[in-house]
Symmetry: C2
Subunit: 215 residues, 2 copies
Amino acid sequence: METTNDGQVPRAVVHRLSLYLRELQQLMKNGRSTTSSTQLGKLLGFTDAQVRKDLAYFGQFGYPGIGYRCEELLVAIKNILGTDHEWPVAIVGVGNLGRALLGYRGFHNQGFRVVAAFDTDSKKVGEKIEGILVYPTEQISEVIRQHRIRLGMIAVPANSAQIVADELVRSGVEGIVNFAPVTLAHPAGVWVERVDLAIELEQLSFSVVNRQQNT
Amino acid sequence: METTNDGQVPRAVVHRLSLYLRELQQLMKNGRSTTSSTQLGKLLGFTDAQVRKDLAYFGQFGYPGIGYRCEELLVAIKNILGTDHEWPVAIVGVGNLGRALLGYRGFHNQGFRVVAAFDTDSKKVGEKIEGILVYPTEQISEVIRQHRIRLGMIAVPANSAQIVADELVRSGVEGIVNFAPVTLAHPAGVWVERVDLAIELEQLSFSVVNRQQNT
DNA sequence: TAGATTGTTAATCGATTAACAATC
DNA sequence: TAGATTGTTAATCGATTAACAATC
């Protein structure tokens, strides 16, 4: 019996699911056809118990005495994460970072396709970058609906991020990756993942300065 | 009395410290001179108790009945994070993403300065991007030592990320932000922050598909 | 003063790990 | 068979929240 969590899967578990997926893809690339909770745990620095517990939230995927079939577990995880079919994605902000995201191969490998980009700069509007047309921000709603886009990425300056987020939400976007270093307000039913590049370095700075004994 | 953690500050706490710092910067930009655990909590979606508990790991920064002086708390957090002085940083890999990182203003704002870039591509070597010279990867060790660089960012393809990481570590780098979608092996005493852009989208995909009731 | 807010202790809640029967 | 490994329960560990005296 569960406690209070009530079928809610912890964020941390879902995040590790993505990591398991990456390791499985790697293992398969290396020609491995089966793996085990011990192996996955070793690769990622988790205990074997944690790997099994995480997977147990979603079902039974292994074979006692054998382990997990890579292909099978990989497909199962993609199903859980929802990346068994391709997601069209929009990018708002075609500066340095936005351009890099437009050209990032890793998205397509994992089931995401950037289909539209937006910018306020009239010099950029109309341009095709990596084969993707840049629309004016005024057309966000129209284009998002046309393409049935449910996921967006924000790569605009901090001071316009909230306005862009509001517009994306109004247009029906349900998930946002926010690269601007601000906290976005958003309604329930919309999810935001914040990626703050400077924070990553800050975390390292702290670790180095405070020389912790953990890895 | 502490339990077993023994003065070790949880990662999550340090991460929230960075978020408090961002909010303080924002508040000050808006002309606020004091704040409170309640206000910080509301802005970030935490409880007031959590804010106070987090700060308590590092000392006493507030005034009962008053709250926190923004400027003062900001300086204190920068001290804790180690960003009270500037850190020189290296970037390996000058593809789409590497270039974007070279031009990212957010680093300098937070106390980081990219001082060197590396790439294997002889067409890129010697080029100056955003005022930063691109060196051949063979010179990683030499340049890193010259500039006393302790933090690096890896923006190379997945299959060469480990080799680059090893070389950075050999050169004395103590902290790495890894943008390649692979798990890096590394010795204790070296810290790695993994940023996997596709994983961010995967997490959103999961949330949208599984329509959780939390925010 | 009354109201606001801190720092901190104790209580609660949740997540990780250990252990083991069942299975191949 | 003996060895390996799962899924799951119970025990442990750690993190969050509630509560409140002290303070301004």
